[in-house]
Amino acid sequence: MNLQNLVHALEGNLQAELAGKDVQIALLERQERAIAAHDPGALESAARELQSELQREIERAEKRARILALLSQALGLPPHPRIAEIVQALEARNALGLRLAAKRAELRVRCAEALRRGRRLNVLVRAHASLVEEAFGRFLGPDPSGVPLGRGALVDAEA
């Protein structure tokens, strides 16, 4: 595969990643709304869809890794280059890297947004989970074994 094809493949991968990020952000929003509405069903449904989306993202990441490996070889760059380095190397040769640079910039924004939402949701989910744990604790009392509930502790059937 020549350099031109490799650049187009990377552009396509980043474009797919942009669409994936939109889906991901939408799913994170749905989860946040589900938490706000105390709707475990909606939270679960959004989480399942996110799981499928993550599977696709992992597949894209694997494909991207292969493209980047070939590009680094073609451009004489060290292994595992950053996309910014690829864009810089391409710009040094000709105008092939312009669209790629735009895609990269756009993806950075989407990715940052997904990351922000993800972190925020992570805090919310953990906070809610700890509340539930506390509520369980109030009902069941302290576990004499000291093993936290719901993390693989065996329950004495006779207890």
């Binding site: 706000a36 989480a47 990351l115 009902f139």
Partner: protein
């Protein structure tokens, strides 16, 4: 915009925290009596205006409210009061039932039957000393049973009164706590919030109070409740009014609210049940038992007092009941006999006093008329003293003493009198015991004149007080003078030699009762039972010591048990004082009444319990915590969060990696 988004998250987190706190609170209190399930009221937050747009502001927990139905809660209070009252009543009646022990070997009815059986056996052989003693011991056992039952009922009443005191103390503790809760709720709700847990706690106190006494509860706008019982205030705002109990022998217990002069008569709750026990249930039973014993003593004594003991007519006798100087003038004579403080009534009638010459056997009967409204103690004593060979004295302690002169004796048997007399020149002698239903006066009148035992067809007609001829006696030729001729109703007449004319006559008074005025039973002269009621009934020590004094005979004749028949007749007599029942029937009624009341109380309690359970189910459908439901909710949250957390970790990891790659 990002700050709005962050705010959305914080509000949501706070709302969720409140919701989950409430779930945990509900679950933790699932087994707390009276806890009402709480739920979170979620409201959308007020929108924020950004430029021309209204932006949502997430969700907020507005209030936590107890899910309750005040009407049902109040009706539950009423039901609890009713159940607690019936429970206490039923328990008290059950104790009375156990005490009565009917039917059973040592029961009162079997003891009464035992006494009459003993008297019945004795009537077959009235002179048998062993049978006399057996009958007296049976009477003594019966009296002991009366006394022990009465004492037992008194003890139950005392116990119930003591428990009333304890319940009063409990009421005061609860009303104090309710007033304290009122204060706390008022202070908490001053900002418009709802003190659900404090209200639950107060409701539980109200339920406890309703178990003790019937209450009406009114909630005020400030969140406090006013509690009243039978229209009197127990709690008003932050102040409670103490209940006070006063124990007295007469009434058992009297209740008041501190500062009130009005007596409080609780109707519901355990206090209401105990109060009813002390004030009505047990006093009624005590009264019935006392009525029975009193009637028994009176009726048996009336029969016994006119009997003649095995030792024959009395030489002396002393009354067991003392006369009272009612007007406290230092003299008994001026007291009306019927109002001289005797424990049993004296009525209009007559007392027969039979004086027997122990040497000749001759009997002289004197009739003393008693007018309940006129005859004084002095009149009676004077008339007794007017009887030859008899002395009557009212002792300093109020007891009446009778003493016969040497060689004479007296009794009060229902004899026919005079026992001897004359029709013209023929001496007449009357023998036998009159068996008529009522006293009667007979007149002997010869149809013609002639000599007894010689003149042919010399007939003597006998007329009753109505002028009806009841017999015609042939005392002419063929009649052996001195031989007895039947008059009917157990009486016989004999005529001596002599001449009679159709102008002659002889009056005979036939008595069925030697004391129709009941003065002997009132005074306690020749009485078998001592005492005046269930608490002090007993067999005369004098007779117990010497069973020959058991006055079995109606005439004094050997082998006569006529007085025993009168005593036995009491067993089946319809006694006015017992509402027309016989003693055995009355005991049966007393026992059945207790059993019926207990069964009724238990049945009513079952019904009230059903109503209560229905109301509780109705309340629980709204208010109670369903732990399973709450746990399922929590588990679903937990699983969702766990799954979400795992994926978010991956999302964040991938995004971090992608950012580094970009």
């Amino acid at each position: 915009m990002s700050s709005v988004a962050l705010n959305l998250g914080i509000e949501a987190l706070l709302a969720a925290q409140t919701a989950l706190d409430t779930v945990g609170h509900n679950v933790a209190n699932a087994n707390t009596p009276g806890y009402s399930r709480q739920s979170v009221l979620l409201r959308a937050g007020p929108s924020m205006r950004l430029g021309n747009n209204l932006v949502g502001n997430g969700v907020r927990a507005m209030d936590i409210v107890s899910v309750r139905d005040l009407l049902v809660d109040r009706r539950i209070l009423t039901q609890r009061s009713a159940i607690a009252r019936l429970d206490a009543l039923s328990s008290g009646l059950s104790d009375v039932e156990s005490l009565l022990g009917e039917p059973g070997e040592g029961s009162l009815s079997s003891m009464i039957s035992g006494f009459f059986s003993g008297v019945s056996r004795l009537s077959a052989n009235p002179g048998d000393t062993v049978l006399r003693r057996d009958a007296l011991v049976a009477g003594s056992d019966m009296a002991e049973r009366f006394r022990s039952l009465y004492a037992g009922l008194e003890t139950l009443r005392g116990d119930a009164a003591a428990r009333v005191d304890a319940q009063v103390e409990r009421v005061n503790q609860l009303t104090d706590s309710i007033a304290t809760m009122n204060r706390a709720i008022g202070a908490t709700e001053i900002d418009g919030s709802t003190a659900n847990d404090l209200r639950d706690e107060r409701d539980e106190l109200l339920r406890d109070l309703a178990d003790v006494v019937d209450v009406a509860v009114v909630e005020r706008e400030d969140g406090t409740v006013a509690v009243t019982t039978r229209g009197q205030v127990l709690v008003s705002g932050t102040r409670n009014f103490e209940m006070e109990g006063e124990t007295s022998i007469a009434q058992g217990v009297t209740l008041r609210i501190h500062g009130s002069t009005q007596e409080l008569e609780p109707h519901g709750g355990s206090l209401g049940g105990l109060y009813a026990q002390v004030r009505s249930v047990l006093p009624e039973r005590l009264q019935k038992l006392d009525d029975l014993a009193r009637s028994f003593v009176h009726e048996i004594n009336k029969a016994h007092s006119t009997g003649v003991p095995g030792t024959g007519p009395f030489r002396s006798l002393e009354s067991t009941h003392a006369l009272h100087d009612v007007d406290e003038d230092g003299a008994y004579d001026d007291e009306l006999l019927a109002m001289a403080g005797l424990p049993f009534p004296v009525q209009d009638g007559a007392l027969l006093v039979n004086m027997t010459d122990r040497v000749t056997g001759a009997v002289e009967t004197v009739r003393i008329e008693i007018d309940a409204e006129e005859t004084t103690v002095g009149d009676l004593v004077s008339q007794l003293n007017a009887i030859p060979q008899l002395t009557a004295v009212v002792e300093g302690n109020g007891q009446l003493s009778l003493r016969a002169a040497e060689g004479f004796g007296f009794d009060f048997a229902a004899r026919s009198y005079p026992s001897s007399g004359a029709v013209g020149g023929s001496a007449v002698a009357i023998t036998g015991q009159f068996g008529g239903d009522a006293a009667a006066d007979f007149t002997f009148r010869p149809r013609s004149s002639g000599d007894v035992g010689a003149t042919p067809d010399l007939l003597v007609d006998v007329f009753d007080q109505n002028g009806d001829r009841i017999a015609t006696l042939d005392v002419g030729a063929g009649y052996v003078p001195g031989s007895e001729l039947e008059l009917g109703n157990g009486l016989k007449a004999s005529f001596g030699l002599g001449t009679i004319t159709n102008a002659d006559s002889f009056e005979l008074h036939a008595a069925t009762d030697g004391d129709t005025a009941d003065v002997l039973a009132a005074l306690g002269l020749n009485t078998l039972f001592t005492g005046t009621g269930a608490s002090d009934i007993g067999v005369s020590e004098r007779i117990l010591t010497d069973p020959r004094l058991f006055a079995a005979s109606a005439t004094g004749a050997d082998g006569d048990g006529g007085a025993l028949s009168d005593i036995l007749a009491v067993s089946e007599a319809s006694l006015e004082a017992l509402g027309g029942s016989s003693p055995i029937q009355y005991v049966g009624g007393l026992v059945a009444g207790v059993g019926f009341d207990r069964a009724s109380a238990e049945l009513a309690m079952e019904t009230e319990q059903l109503l209560h359970d229905g109301l509780v189910a109705q309340r629980d459908a709204r208010s109670a915590v369903n732990v399973d439901e709450e746990l399922v909710d929590m588990l679903r949250f937990q699983q969702s969060y766990q799954a979400a957390a795992q994926f978010i970790q991956v999302v964040n990891g991938l995004n971090d990696e992608l950012m580094r790659l970009l």
